[in-house]
């Protein structure tokens, strides 16, 4: 009895046109076939070993056939070992999944990439017996830790002084476990306590926390997905992320890809927090800054990090079907990434977007006050972003504005004095300004009636903007700026249109590009944009 039944021989005989094969012949052939197959396999295994492989390939069988002076079997050549599939309903019947290939597809398929050429790279597998932790070596975590320390004891018994350096076993000390439990408890239960603040400081400075990073990462991701309704918790979690990022002793890069999704959730999720009163805008702002700091910190190691972040954010911003809250998150995220991102990603889209946004903001068209509020929020964010960009542009040309700016610095009172002079300065070129432009500017102001809400929001955003321009400045300076900004605003309140066009043309004169930018922004936002322009002055002396 052989593994090859005589039926197989009969079937094969029929397939090659021998119909009247006597069963004796089949019976005699069957064992011989099995013997030959085994012989070939034995040789094939030798060839496999000499090719330093542990998986048998068709090439090996071909070489074995060659060794036995048999014509190799053609048509099965492949660089990789064949993938066998188990036949359904059989325990030990396998087949090669050979798909039908459409001839047309083969012809029309683009030419495959040329395979990369063989190369040799070198690295240190070990230096004086110790494996350095470099990407070329197998990660230490992947290694199986030896069972306890029995081995070391054993070698000591032998009386030979050997220091066997065991691979680092990923075990948390009891202290670290306690620490982790305490922190997570604080995050969940008392995120507004003083202890939590201290915990954040500890997370940002302690050096021994690296072993906990994977656990924190997992905890954050887990908690964010579970408790999207719990705004304080989300806020606490984002603070923890920020602290972890600040910690100079933590090597957080490997876990970044796990951290980014929860962060993005807190930035561009549709609904954060349970009630309307929850200030999820604040969380979004905070997270936006977090994202920006991550891009700044790790952008050089992961060169595609910022592009991916930007892509996600632009998607959130430009998808009309998405909620206003998501748009807000997208805009804030992009704005935090810096003025150049705003210029490239937001400004080209501002005009069509505002057309979409406008009906949402008007009392007549959008009855739902909640929605309208959201729309105004988005408008505010957009304004802020565009203003930031403008501010950045104007900052490049501070020469013109420097004299008045210095005076602002010296005394607060002089601001009022210098402002008229500035207006005077700008009045002259305003005569050169084409008249119809002014009309358009004024015309665009018409339909957008500015409710007090917008004033409030832009006023809110202004100190933030100046704060960003000089994060190192003392609070007194910030106050100063705010005051000056308010002064300016008041000024403008009087000046209105003439002054607006004046500053506009001033920029025009300075730089066509920036002027154009300002003009178009002015067209879109009206005078609210000017709250950003004078801050150039304050930035100069910082």
């Amino acid at each position: 009895m052989s593994i090859v039944p005589k039926e197989t021989i009969e079937v094969i005989a029929q397939s090659i046109g021998i119909n009247n094969l006597s069963s004796d012949v089949a019976l005699a052939l069957a064992p011989d076939v099995e013997y030959r197959v085994r012989e070939i396999m034995q040789e094939a295994i030798k060839c496999m070993r000499h090719s330093k492989r542990t998986v048998l390939t068709t090439d090996d069988v071909d070489s074995a056939l060659n060794l036995r002076n048999v014509e190799p079997i053609y048509g099965f050549a492949s660089g990789d070992p064949l993938r066998f599939k188990r036949a359904v309903g059989h325990k030990d019947l396998f087949y090669i999944d050979d798909k039908d290939v459409e001839f047309k597809d083969v012809i029309e398929a683009p030419l495959p990439k040329a395979p990369l050429d063989t190369a040799v790279v070198a690295h240190w597998l070990a230096i004086e017996g110790v494996q350095p932790a470099i990407p070329e070596n197998a990660p230490v975590e992947a290694l199986v830790a030896p069972p306890e320390s029995k081995k070391t004891e054993h070698s000591k018994e032998d009386g030979i002084p050997v220091d066997i350096k065991l691979p680092v076993k990923h075990v948390l000390s009891r202290e670290l476990q306690l620490y982790f439990d305490k922190i997570t408890e604080l995050i969940v239960s008392q995120s507004d306590s003083v202890i939590f603040k201290e915990a954040l400081v500890s997370l940002a400075t302690d050096s021994g926390l690296h072993p906990l990073v994977p656990y924190f990462t997992f905890f954050i991701a887990d908690e964010v997905t579970r408790s999207l309704n719990d705004l304080p918790l989300l806020f606490a979690l984002m603070r923890v992320v920020r602290s972890l990022l600040q910690n100079p002793h933590i090597h957080i890069e490997p876990y970044l890809h796990q951290l980014m999704p929860p962060i993005f959730t807190c930035l561009v999720a549709k609904k954060l927090g349970r009630r309307f009163v929850d200030n999820h805008w604040e969380l979004r702002d905070f997270t936006a800054n977090l994202v920006a700091s991550i891009c700044k910190k790790f952008g050089h190691t992961y060169h595609n990090l910022q592009t991916r972040v930007t892509k996600t954010l632009v998607n959130a911003f430009l998808e009309p079907s998405k909620a206003m809250t998501q748009h807000y998150g997208g805009i804030q995220g992009l704005a935090a990434l810096g003025p150049s991102v705003v210029r490239l990603m937001i400004l080209p889209n501002v005009e069509p977007y505002l057309q979409l946004l406008e009906p949402e903001m008007q009392l007549e068209k959008q009855k739902n006050e909640m929605k309208r509020h959201e729309a105004w929020r988005v408008y505010g964010a957009l304004l802020h972003a565009a203003g930031q960009c403008l501010y950045d542009r104007l900052k490049l040309f501070p020469g013109l504005l420097s004299p008045p700016a210095r005076s602002v610095w010296r005394t607060n009172a002089r601001v009022i004095n210098t402002m008229p002079s500035k207006r005077k300065l700008s009045n002259d070129p305003s005569s050169q300004q084409p008249l119809h432009k002014k009309q358009i500017v004024e015309g665009s102001l018409g339909p957008i009636s500015l409710p007090a809400d917008l004033q409030g929001s832009s006023a809110d955003s202004f100190p933030a903007a100046s704060g960003e321009s000089g994060p190192s400045s003392s609070s007194g300076q910030v106050l100063n700026e705010v005051v000056s900004g308010n002064n300016n605003r008041r000024e403008r309140g009087d000046g209105r249109a003439p002054k607006a066009s004046a500053v506009l043309s001033q920029a025009w004169k300075e730089d066509v590009d920036a002027g154009h930018l300002l003009a178009s922004l002015f067209e879109l936002f009206g005078e609210a944009i000017f709250s950003f322009a004078p801050s150039v002055a304050t930035s100069f002396f910082l």
Binding site: M1, S2, A28, P31, D32, E34, Y35, R38, E39, Q42, K46, R49, H50, S51, K52, R53, T54, V55, T57, D59, S63, N66, L67, G79, D80, P81, P115, L116, D117, T118, A119, V120, V121, A122, H123, W124, L125, A126, I127, E128, G129, V130, Q131, E136, N137, A138, A142, L143, S155, I160, P161, V162, D163, I164
Partner: protein
Amino acid sequence: MEEEEIEKAVLAYLKKKGFKHTELALQEEQNNNPSASQTDPDVARRILSFAQSENGPARYHDGYSKLRSWTYTSLDLYKHELLRVLYPVFVHCFMDLVAKGHTQEARTFFNSFREDHELMHLRDLQKLEGILSPSHLEEMEFAHSLRQSKVNIKICKYSYELLLQYLHKTQSITMLGIINEHINFQVAPGQPSSISDDAEVVTLIGSSQDAANQINQKEIRWGLLEDSLEERLEKASGLLSDSEKAEGENKDGDLEENKKRSVEGGKQGNSIKKLKKEKIVGTTGKNARSETNSITMAPRVKPELTLPVMPIEVEHSILEDLRNRVQLSSLALPSVSFYTFINTHNGLNCASISHDGSLVAGGFSDSSLKVWDMSKMGRRVDTSNVQGENESVPSEHSAGSEDGKRSYTLFQGHAGPVYSATFSPLGDFILSSSSDSTIRLWSTKLNANLVCYKGHNYPVWDVQFSPVGHYFASSSHDRTARIWSMDRIQPLRIMAGHLSDVDCVQWHANCNYIATGSSDKTVRLWDVQSGECVRIFIGHRGMILSLAMSPDGRYMASGDEDGTIMMWDLSSGRCVTPLMGHTSCVWTLAFSCEGSLLASGSADCTVKLWDVTTSTKAPRIEDNKSGSANRLRSLKTLHTKSTPVYTLRFSRRNLLFSAGVLSKGI
């Protein structure tokens, strides 16, 4: 009445065998004198039982199962000895059944008792399983040789008597026949031998063990060559002059030197520079001396071959290397530099590294041989020493591909997969062996093929340069190993004797012997001058894949496809101890230059370092075979990132180079 039965049985036997004339004669004779003979009852019984045994293959099955159950229920003290008898009986029962044409019964017999022996003899069983007709028995070398030869089994007197008693008592003629025919008992008086001692009995080899033992009696001079460089260095080191110290200082730029210094410095606990430096040089000098001492303890022998003359400047550079050698021990592990082949598309069959680690050769299944100059790679980014190249290689590689230039030298000429490549000691020649049954000599200076050596009839699995160059040895599927010299296209010696493919070959340190590992699971040592087999090492359970000789010439390590490494004492021909630890094929083995460490590279993606000093020194002092004292230890396992290790090489300064292919599938 009994007479008639006997007559019937005899007649039936004669009919069956086709002895017609005898049958007629017998009948005639019976007719002539009907009531003549009076048969001996004992003989009658024999004849009857013989007739019975003739009539069915079931006899084998019954007989064997009875013997088996008897053995298993025998006294514990003698059981392990009696169990050894079972395997040969089993194999021969099976082959007898096949030979008589009872294929079906043979298969059922085989399958029902196969499990008993799978643990020890899996590979043999797999081979035998395929035998299904008498003609296969003739054809298959392994089966043929088994049937031709007798197995030696050492057994104590009492076990032997037990067995005989059982066989006679139960009338199991079939079993008795097989045992008489195929087993040669070496009855030893006294107590049964210990279980651990039966390593030799495990393997059934074709040639009789007697012959192997006889061969292993031959004298072998394992000492090192007279007037070797090490020896000269030792003489010279007595004259360590000031100039040398100055030389040491000049080499500040050498990283390796620096590193070594820091090690030495660390040991001595000093960190102050200028003054101490000279001291340090002094200590390295001492180290070099002490390590050469261990080698000079080996006896000296005269070379049997005429050795090539070494150019003086090469000699100087080697001496320099020897002086700067880092001494390795279980406490000072080597640095390992790993060369990873990428994008090979499953095509790399072998890799080889030159003695200084600067050249890496890869033999591919597309018949090509590619050589990378690692030192050149480093130089382009302005680091000339071997140490510095590692950081710069990736960038260099990308630069190389941008240039559209290959980063390697391509040698084409073979007409089949290249299975082995070896560098000459000076790195100026490469030999490659291929499945096209040729060996080719390439010059790394001219980048050209110089000679094609034809002689083997089948794929050449392995080729190795001798330690002094000029001569080389090859091994092939044609079951021979051959010795060649570079200047002749015909082999100088042909070593025939292995029963299966010769898979690997290695030179002894003194160039007077070569060792070959084979698929017949034995390692043999051959005398280069006479071409005689001088040692047979039996003990592996799979095909031998790698061999390494200790630098003092006393020991040999061999690795097989199961992951077992065995250390052999050349003079006694005995296995010092097996080294267990690898889980897959051991592709490569290398001794460190002073012989204290053994490195092994395996398909399980690890490099293991073994401490071999404990084993090699213990027997020298005490010369006893107690197992625990000279147990070898695994010092360190270095995991690679899914890269099976194809080759290992200790440079003359004891830096370990290794190479392998990154394979994503694992």
